[in-house]
Subunit: 460 residues, 4 copies
Amino acid sequence: MLDDLKDKFHDECGIFGIYLNHPRHDSEAAQTTFYGLYALQHRGQESAGIAVSDLKRIQLHKGMGLASEVFSPEIIARLQGQIAVGHVRYSTTGESGAVNAQPLVFHYLNGMVALAHNGNLINTKELRANLSAYGSVFQTTTDTEVVANLMARYSKDHMEDALAKCMIDMKGAYSLIIMTEDRLVGIRDPLGIRPLCLGEMQGSYILASESASLDTVGAKFVRDIKPGEIVVIDKTGLKSIQAVHSGRTAHCIFEYIYFARPDSTMDGINVYQARKAMGRQLAREADIGGDLVIAVPDSGTAAALGYAEESGLPFEEGLIKKRYVGRTFIQPTQAIRELGVKLKLNAVHEVVRDKRVIMVDDSIVRGTTSKNIVKMLREAGAKEVHMVVASPPTCHPCYYGIDTSQREELIANTMSTEEIARHIGADSLHYISMEGMVNALMPKTDDFCTACFSGEYPIA
Amino acid sequence: MLDDLKDKFHDECGIFGIYLNHPRHDSEAAQTTFYGLYALQHRGQESAGIAVSDLKRIQLHKGMGLASEVFSPEIIARLQGQIAVGHVRYSTTGESGAVNAQPLVFHYLNGMVALAHNGNLINTKELRANLSAYGSVFQTTTDTEVVANLMARYSKDHMEDALAKCMIDMKGAYSLIIMTEDRLVGIRDPLGIRPLCLGEMQGSYILASESASLDTVGAKFVRDIKPGEIVVIDKTGLKSIQAVHSGRTAHCIFEYIYFARPDSTMDGINVYQARKAMGRQLAREADIGGDLVIAVPDSGTAAALGYAEESGLPFEEGLIKKRYVGRTFIQPTQAIRELGVKLKLNAVHEVVRDKRVIMVDDSIVRGTTSKNIVKMLREAGAKEVHMVVASPPTCHPCYYGIDTSQREELIANTMSTEEIARHIGADSLHYISMEGMVNALMPKTDDFCTACFSGEYPIA
Amino acid sequence: MLDDLKDKFHDECGIFGIYLNHPRHDSEAAQTTFYGLYALQHRGQESAGIAVSDLKRIQLHKGMGLASEVFSPEIIARLQGQIAVGHVRYSTTGESGAVNAQPLVFHYLNGMVALAHNGNLINTKELRANLSAYGSVFQTTTDTEVVANLMARYSKDHMEDALAKCMIDMKGAYSLIIMTEDRLVGIRDPLGIRPLCLGEMQGSYILASESASLDTVGAKFVRDIKPGEIVVIDKTGLKSIQAVHSGRTAHCIFEYIYFARPDSTMDGINVYQARKAMGRQLAREADIGGDLVIAVPDSGTAAALGYAEESGLPFEEGLIKKRYVGRTFIQPTQAIRELGVKLKLNAVHEVVRDKRVIMVDDSIVRGTTSKNIVKMLREAGAKEVHMVVASPPTCHPCYYGIDTSQREELIANTMSTEEIARHIGADSLHYISMEGMVNALMPKTDDFCTACFSGEYPIA
Amino acid sequence: MLDDLKDKFHDECGIFGIYLNHPRHDSEAAQTTFYGLYALQHRGQESAGIAVSDLKRIQLHKGMGLASEVFSPEIIARLQGQIAVGHVRYSTTGESGAVNAQPLVFHYLNGMVALAHNGNLINTKELRANLSAYGSVFQTTTDTEVVANLMARYSKDHMEDALAKCMIDMKGAYSLIIMTEDRLVGIRDPLGIRPLCLGEMQGSYILASESASLDTVGAKFVRDIKPGEIVVIDKTGLKSIQAVHSGRTAHCIFEYIYFARPDSTMDGINVYQARKAMGRQLAREADIGGDLVIAVPDSGTAAALGYAEESGLPFEEGLIKKRYVGRTFIQPTQAIRELGVKLKLNAVHEVVRDKRVIMVDDSIVRGTTSKNIVKMLREAGAKEVHMVVASPPTCHPCYYGIDTSQREELIANTMSTEEIARHIGADSLHYISMEGMVNALMPKTDDFCTACFSGEYPIA
């Protein structure tokens, strides 16, 4: 999929932390965290940061850009210590800028803390008002600073109790990694909306947004952090506290559709296999006469392979994605119009010419990209272009940490499926059904948050 | 394949030129050339440059880095004129640096010229010695400066005659785009070793290394420039001169194996289909019992699809390539060793676990990457790993513009196929046969340069 | 003097604020503040920042480097509003970095505030401990964040009362400019240690560290802010509150000796004339037979002119200071040793050859620079070199916002005047007397802080 | 004087070379050259470059910006070799950019050469035409490339003969340092228009534009290179060839007025003393009733001291020049108009208030700066402002390497002295007389080029 063409939902953050199980005075913790962030880069490209503790004090480096731009070998070498926590961030609206980069490091009554947060609180305004009345000051508009001040509010409690109280105060989606001078703590919100998992490497524990980052650093996946769980890692090992019991889950289903890496497994489901299963389901639901199946690379590939397998039609690389895409490029003007998609994708004429093409993508947000791709395929000689989409129409905004577009920009809010098909120029258009999508993820019985499709929000 | 892991052959350059068929005082020519270079970026990432002519004088901008780094909208806007020529460069050995970036712009007796060159001359030393004896000075060690001085040597001839004489002097591989104040000229060496094709957009002619770049800018492919042909484009239209007849061709076969984009068609053969055909041929040649076929992305995918099709085995995405790879990253140390491949690729455990995996790649150079990928697949649970390679063993250096490694670094020079299989840890290893590879490219009857496999060089 | 050779005391900060007396929706306030900071750049080169308010909300831009590096015309253009406050910072010890750049902007119960601070509190540790016990969190180690949290502690008081309470809590030296959405406030500590003055430009008020910055922006000097005074500027005009009465002053005497610009006038005394008067006093105190008087440029020039005038000896430019000094340069090695001073200064051989030279400087800290200059003069042919210093020996550290070196690095702590003369290779060395220095600043009767010479600290 | 306010003539280049008299495999030659360029930075700030030879091959590094920006310790460390030549450049008109940075390194029949050039040829066009007819190509429009091609034209002669022939061909002003693999050569044009001198450091020879750069690196001044002389330094020592005898000299008098450092001595005359003598002469010529003498810093200071000495009036620092001037700053708009000079200079009110001020500057080009300074002094309270100028009116362009403004921009071309006085707002204006100026430089009998004042050009 064309992720930087602004025609996709966007995740907000990736987090990673490690507690080495033996005293270290080098930068191994920082280095492992750097590679962990590198593997989570798809979850946020705006800023990156790493904080380390040598059990005495916490050091921090963060900046704007990709992890590989923010960190150099020299910087990593200076970040010495046994514990580390890192963060990559995608900014949602206007509140961009270095001041909002994470982790947030602060001093309070009990010492120093580094906070890394993925998610979104829905009662931030109320929490800030309460805290301000007690004399809190805020230097940013981030949720993370609210969490820091909440922790300080309970600074006379034992840490576990303080965090459990914070969890009662915080409404919304949050996966948090918290580092003090001598502890690493992981917290997942009561519904488990955003992901967080536990890994292990030569006896040392790791916390991470996705299991694929454990593979990258050479660690083993242990388990997902449970909804409502607090995990505390210190020199005595790992302790789990089930701070809140909600009796249900609401895992974000979009992680499986688009956000997460195909090589990650979350809450028991491998993302690649989930996508393939959705593709197979689509083939069962849509009955289209076609000659071949192609994907919109890269995110549509798994579903396309599933579709091809189930339908018995051949899978071909009909669209080629460009390598070496620089981060910025100039705007087309004059005769060179609507160049957008062509800079990233190109059709293989010899593959699609005179063929009835079934094109698989993971989702449609505004429809602009789809329209351009359909046009490109027709110009390359395709006889028919049928689009199939491995998610239902997206009609509702997300309040739990995903950058959905404005409601009015979501094409499915303003047009019927037939109208969209006509709009994008496709001969037909098929979305997977809600039921089909959820069934494809079975036999897992956990519930998912499908609010962006259904408008049924798990938290009021 | 993991192109920046230094375990691949490398192309040297991509070139692109346009002559707008109507007087222009804006930057459309420069802009189109920028997008053309953008589409040819895989042919060279070290430097980029564009020269334009407004029929009176030539302006130039070039620099180190990707086209999107070297050019900004402001810079493009300043490059106004009706004709443009651009270049992206990959440097071979130590002679890197801004001074060698192209196009080379120079003044000589007949005015100004911009030169963009893809290829390598094999008699450079001799040509420089001759020219020096006549008083030439050289500011670089590039072939391009030699070509410029050769042109000046014949500056009292008509341009076509001068270029024909230059072609007699120059031995080796060269595709050249030459821009004077009022002409755009394309030249291809007598054996057609390096590619060059002609496109057309709303009546304006384009010259480019690959047809995919024509698609990107919205132009139509017209034909390949013939070996030994000079094409001169000016206000009167296009004129073709068959300057040299060699009676045979020696197209670089590695363009089909790895260099060119799958969506390009060169000398009558589509690259994606060529690779797929090689994959099918491999399946016929290799008789391996496997459960599934996977590719080393991205360059092995087409061959893997061909293999799967011919063998009847399912194709799966067993290896996931990371998006958002920053250009530099820090070196692993200590406990985090041999991280290399893991930063770019990861295995999908759920796909390969307990399976007999057939892994397809386009080529093996030093074997380091293959070894690490095989190891990664085994750690992910693969029962057997069989590697099949869509090109024969590479044993010989290239003198025609390709950066092959040192002879002693080419693993096929020091080990037998069985030894390589053992070295990389594969259960078996199969290369395509020379005959099979060439047949897969039929029914085209043109001859190819296969010197890197066979050691049979088309020029002494 | 050679300010960047680390052989000088260093000031910590410069501050500047403006309240335009007519509603504005452009960047004039930011622009004036930028030029004000530009004129105060000598007070701090590490970071620069400007915050503006359009009466509704506060915007901020800050960064590392000179004001001219941190701000571009585009950035200034975005900072629209009627009120602005700016800051340039010199970092004292290790606590450098972007996170400490000022102004500090924060939200609290009563809205948004921007804080710019020059000075140093001596009870920071105690204040932080008290605030932490109430639940405050600190993201930096700066005094400025302490002031912000103190203000929030009193957020239920009227602002003037809150600030008066803060002044009771804060011990030490501080000049503060505070901007809320609709007010600009200036505060000077009860002893007036650090400078702060009031200007006026076409009916709009300005607050600034030095009067020279008023000249630069075209404003008129009105008066100095009084020790212990709070000045509140809003749409109703200017209101003065004498929050604290201490009955005495302790203006930092080093502002006159070295920190301030010669064209500034502080607390009634012009800096250039003060320096000249100290030079005349020196000539009366030191009775040296010399042929000519030279200055160590630029900071020794005024005193040297005074010395020449009083002694009747000619003043000559015997040392030339280099223009176009880049900010960094490489380290000398091998044969090129002790190059340091030579890169900045050079002797005019024809001026000093065979002469008895009296060399005037403003102060000696470690003596390294003086030693190198004396050596340079001798190599240029000077017959005798007598050094006279327009301040007494500096033996004591400053706790009020000046970066003095470590006690043991202050050469006057470890050597007698004769020993220093021998150490630096001078034929004689004369410091001005404490009494002479203070008298030279008369007839002003204000008291000065001379703790760095006398060790008598005005605050316990 | 306010050099970057574009109200001054500008020099074109500074050059520096060294031949270490003992085999070296380190970067001492490059390092010494770096410091030499650092000391010559006032002669050109656009680009900097250093080439070194280890007797076998030549390496080069050059770039845009100050020497301290172009070179880092790492870069210097890589430039190993026994001989080095460096260059700093100020670009005259549009032909700016990296491609024109020097030294120019080229290969020709006899090996490699690095060229550094200060000056301007007046027959460039003719030389290029001749060389083009022989097949030369030119990649830039610089004189330096012409010199390189000329050398190649005579490449079959012995080097000294070849250079002597080049000197016959080249008309105009040139000081050249030429480095081959094993020699360092200095050349000065037959009239000695641009400066070049010889130094010596521990037995090693140095060539440099100004003697002050010898002081900086710790070398001793030996002598000036003679007009028309070629100096060849190699392992056998130094050899001098008087290639051309012109029987007269035409040293650029503006070097003494403004370009050169006061601490340099050129062709027997110390610059500081020359300026002071011109100031004394001015005092004799101008009979003005004043209370005090001030300089426009820094370039007017020496003349002001001479004026004060001769007139008996006190010299005061009435104008203070700002330290820490960043290289770029934003443009004033709106209410803040004509801020220009105020950002660089400020008047000391207490010094000039109610006084009759005599203000000394070295030259007037367009008058803009002078006008602003006079206004500033009046606003600071000066009763009268009399301007005296230590050079005659500049009416004629320079063709020998100086960037004079366009003829019509030279205020002395369009107004009488009285009109200029009125234009700049001064009570009176006095230029030194031609005769007075030249006499002040006596008892040296060499002739000077005074074409910019007189229009009498020493070369047709």
